[in-house]
Symmetry: C2
Subunit: 211 residues, 2 copies
Amino acid sequence: MNDSGTNSDTRAGLIEAGLELFGHKGFDGTSTRELAARAGTNVASISYHFGSKAGLREACALAVTDRMSRALDGALATPDTEEAALGLIEKLVRALVDLIVGSPEAANMVAFMLREITEPGDVAEMVYRSFVEPRHKALCGLWAMATGRSPDDAEVKLAVFALVGQVLYFRIASPFVIRRLSWGEIGQDETRQIADLVIDNLRNSMERQKK
Amino acid sequence: MNDSGTNSDTRAGLIEAGLELFGHKGFDGTSTRELAARAGTNVASISYHFGSKAGLREACALAVTDRMSRALDGALATPDTEEAALGLIEKLVRALVDLIVGSPEAANMVAFMLREITEPGDVAEMVYRSFVEPRHKALCGLWAMATGRSPDDAEVKLAVFALVGQVLYFRIASPFVIRRLSWGEIGQDETRQIADLVIDNLRNSMERQKK
DNA sequence: GTCTATAAACAGATAGAC
DNA sequence: GTCTATCTGTTTATAGAC
């Protein structure tokens, strides 16, 4: 399962601690002592299980891409008609909004991944290759099928980025959104409002590209 | 100009170093020694001019909100008609895309502010109150005038967040965008393509809200 | 596998010379 | 105002007992 062939739940605990603390305070802002304390173990176990603090970071990134892929790919399929493609994208967007904006359980994962995306590095490279690119391609494929365009069309690719960007921004700016809209929190109802807006934008954007 | 009444260009140099290094490597990832070296001075000057490393961070945030406000508020005015309001929003969005996505000079500023927004704290609070909220309100006012809705309408507020979110995401994910579109860089032409897309989305979004 | 103790490097802040 | 030297605490990594 890992470099040294070990298999304990100290390992899993450290990954959870990493997701939470790296995501919340950043990699540099988190000390190995905090990580160990949060996981209920000692500093030496980080080196033992992951080689180094950086090794734990990579393991966290791997855990995140795995789980997010599973959460999203459940909504993936290969549709036959334009209508089916549109329906599938909408289903995918709802899953994305639920995961990124509305899921308190996924909050640590999303925060972790957002940080890794923001700062270029080896981990961001891995995230791009194994997660972002394949899913962006899949979305472009669906978009192309729903609009009759080529999946390699620059406008299609940009529109898909803009689509995902809206969703991610609602997570990034969620403290601002909550204050500006006098929301107490972003619960089920608020998540639905956001998803409705994004899907309306999505439909308009597709209609325009069809012409 | 500051706490101790000093006024040197060592001060300005440290702020530039802060924008670049805090923005690129994060606050915790940047040491006072790096900051001093980048500014061509010594560590003690940080305490002298700003009290502490955290003081330099605040000074950087203030510099960013000042400059970004000036860069954007040039495109602000109070229009009389629906058409004028729409035109003004489009002008503002182009200014925003130029600044956030297309301006290499503003890259440090944008990176710095993005980090501060991402991690909640005193600085993010200041950025919200003095920069985000007033400009979001102004945009909602224009949007309301162009659509005939109330500026306090939740759908208006959310649509404006989604609008800004698209733009910011193109900066956040710019390494991904560049790779997926086989762009060498995001230059004038690419910036225009992004602005065109965002403005198309904006028009559709407004048309829908008018109904 | 887990943990304590410690090594070696580095952090931010400051005293005091100029 | 600027800078060197240094204080004090913390960092990651690891050696070695269990």
